[in-house]
């Protein structure tokens, strides 16, 4: 055979392997609003940047007549490429080949690209679209899942790991995305659950649709398993590109800076916040009034909306922002919002992203349901995450910061490097009403007009304690600043923190209240 013939033979083999499950299966996939696996990769990555590996890998299963079945690329496409010039490792399960089912070689292709990504120090993107374990391969497909989970864990905090759910992802398969940093879902396409509607019906007699059990909306609004929701695959890919632009390649690098941009003029910081600490506003307007180009990339928008988290840039540098949201449940901390913030704080700390905390909260949410759901254990996560973080930590207290909530929101006491407060800040053990009712209980009860006395005492307490000056007098706050100077103070604080280093006692790892 001449080289030319050998090349022709190669091309034929490539073409055959790349047809996946064949024209009919691909047609079915497309009809569901889903792109074929390779097209997903080439759409997401920079043009012509994708290089595929392991195209000719074949499964080794001989049971149940599997030896007679050829599964092109064993149902998963793997390779490397780039997103806006950032190198990435990527895999995409091919639902058209045996339902994207995971057998041992399929898993080995995935673990190989995971190992590569970890060694090269580049982000890993996994596109999940699979019916689950390849039952014919038995325990070997379980081995495959386990080997993936193990690597997800070893790579955690070393390289960014992004999971994209573009089809079913059920049973054990859900745990790989759950171990990764960010999960993207698409309306009506993504489905994630441990046990499906069939099993639930058989065992519990309860009927539920796949969509209501584990659809994209469920995971963005109820469970918090997903971080980003999109209406279509294309919108989802744009979100991934944007995320990648905010984060570093690995934990030894910083995110690439962009040229600095001023916030847009339609966000005037002085007009956003009502002075009355009991009136709501949207904390995202404050964030947009501070950050570059008013561009705030929010994460987990629709879950635990009483806390807002996301990436933005200050003077071109990526920062992670955590802010209480007075528009939702008065911005309280509770089980879900503590979980949400704590994980994000740890992400930022792992990837050298400075943390900006915007504080305006009345405390923790009272309630039997909260106590029984373990708000002690969950609330502790946020304390742990902030205390553990060694990236620059800068806190701005906008309005109320009461009680345990004040401590938890990256106070000086949890190691904040800089704490600024607006003149509207109220840093106190609790709100004036509650404090007056306790401190002046006897006087109020004994007064001729208890209501009038209560009002008077609340006012007294407000005047004396509902301000930032007592905290400032104790050095718990570094500066009381004009709100319009917030951006400038933050940029300065980040600039002087560029070489921050904090040495902690050696330990294998801490024991956070998981």
């Amino acid at each position: 055979m001449s080289l030319k013939q050998k090349l022709l033979d190669l091309f034929k083999r490539i073409e055959k392997a790349q047809t996946g499950g064949g024209a009919k299966a691909i047609e079915k996939q497309v009809a569901m609003g889903k792109l074929p696996a390779r097209e997903r990769i080439t759409t997401l990555l920079d043009r012509n940047s994708f290089h595929e590996y392991d195209l000719f890998v074949e499964h080794k299963c001989a049971d149940f007549d599997m030896d007679k079945k050829k599964l092109p690329a064993d149902g998963v496409v793997t390779g490397t490429g780039s997103i806006k010039g950032h190198p990435v490792g990527i895999f995409a399960q091919d639902f058209t080949v045996a339902g994207g089912s995971l057998g041992l070689m399929h898993a080995r292709k995935i673990t190989k690209i995971m190992d590569h990504s970890l060694k090269m120090g580049i982000p890993l993107i996994g596109i999940n679209d699979s019916g689950g374990a390849r039952i014919q391969e038995g325990v070997n497909s379980l081995a495959g899942y386990g080997e993936i989970f193990y690597r997800n864990t070893l790579a955690s905090g070393v390289i960014p790991q992004i999971s994209v759910i573009l089809g079913p992802c059920a049973g054990g398969a859900v745990y790989s995305p759950a171990l990764t940093d960010f999960v993207f879902v698409v309306d009506k396409i993504s489905k994630m659950f441990i046990t499906g509607p069939e099993v639930i019906k058989t065992v519990l007699g309860e009927e539920i649709s796949m969509e209501d059990l584990g659809g994209a909306k469920v995971h963005t609004e109820i469970t918090g398993n997903a971080h980003f929701f999109a209406e279509s695959e294309l919108e989802c890919f744009e979100q991934i590109k944007k995320l990648v632009s905010f984060i570093p390649w690995n934990n030894k690098k910083k995110a690439d800076p962009l040229p600095a941009k001023m916030p847009r003029s339609n966000y005037n910081i002085e007009n956003i916040i009502p002075l009355d600490p009991k009136k709501p506003y949207d904390i995202r307007d404050v964030i947009k009034a501070i950050c570059d180009d008013s561009d705030f990339f929010e994460i987990q928008k629709s879950w635990a909306a009483n806390i807002v988290i996301g990436f933005a840039r200050l003077n071109g540098e990526t920062v992670g922002i955590v802010g209480n949201q007075p528009l939702v449940l008065a911005g309280v901390l509770d089980v879900d919002s503590s979980d949400k913030a704590a994980r994000f704080i740890r992400y930022c700390d792992a990837f050298n992203i400075p943390l900006i905390t915007l504080v305006d909260l009345p405390g923790y949410l009272p309630g039997i349901d909260q106590e029984h759901a373990g708000v002690i254990r969950h609330g502790a996560k946020i304390l742990y995450a902030y205390s553990e973080a060694t990236v620059p930590k800068i806190t701005v207290i906008l309005r109320k910061a009461y009680g345990g909530g004040y401590i938890a929101m990256c106070s000086r006491h949890l190691g904040a490097d800089f704490v600024f407060a607006w003149p509207s800040a109220e840093i106190a053990v609790m709100g004036p009403e509650g404090a007056a009712n306790i401190i002046f209980k006897a006087e109020i009860a004994g007064a001729d007009d208890p209501d009038e006395m209560r009002k008077q005492k609340v006012l007294e307490y407000t005047e004396k304690f509902a301000n930032p000056y007592i905290a400032a007098a104790n050095g718990h706050v570094d500066s009381i600043i004009n709100p319009s100077e917030t951006r400038e103070f933050l940029i300065h604080a980040i600039t002087v923190s560029a070489n921050k280093s904090e040495v902690r006692a050696f330990r294998k790892h801490g024991i956070p209240p998981f």
Binding site: E221, N306, V328, P362, P366, G431, G434
Partner: protein, 103 residues
């Protein structure tokens, strides 16, 4: 998600104007557990009943076997008392259905 109806939330005697989440609005109100009423913790089949109405039982005594997910679950009396209600053997019960009432 921007369209929150502004309601009120009371924390430490202060009344805050704010939006309320679906989860908050749908939170379960707490009901103390009535130990005398034994409910099905899982749907299943009443495979065997060891007691009858009028029997005196001691806490920890076997009441019945509830078969679910191919497992025979032995249900014991949480408290001592006199049996008021028992299920029939062989019937299917739903989750949280009353099985035994110990008066």
């Amino acid at each position: 998600m921007n369209n929150y109806n502004i309601k009120t939330l009371v924390i430490d005697d202060s009344v805050y104007e704010t939006g309320l989440t679906k989860k908050y609005l749908n939170r379960k109100t707490y009901k103390p557990v009535d130990q005398k009423r034994v409910n099905a913790f899982i749907p299943g089949l009443i495979q065997k009943v060891f007691v009858k109405v009028g029997d005196k039982v001691k806490a920890g005594e076997k009441l019945l076997i509830l078969e679910a997910m191919k497992m025979q679950n032995i249900v014991n009396a949480p408290v001592s008392g006199i049996i008021r209600v028992v299920p029939q053997e062989g019937i299917l019960v739903k989750k949280n259905e009353l099985l035994v009432d110990i008066g």
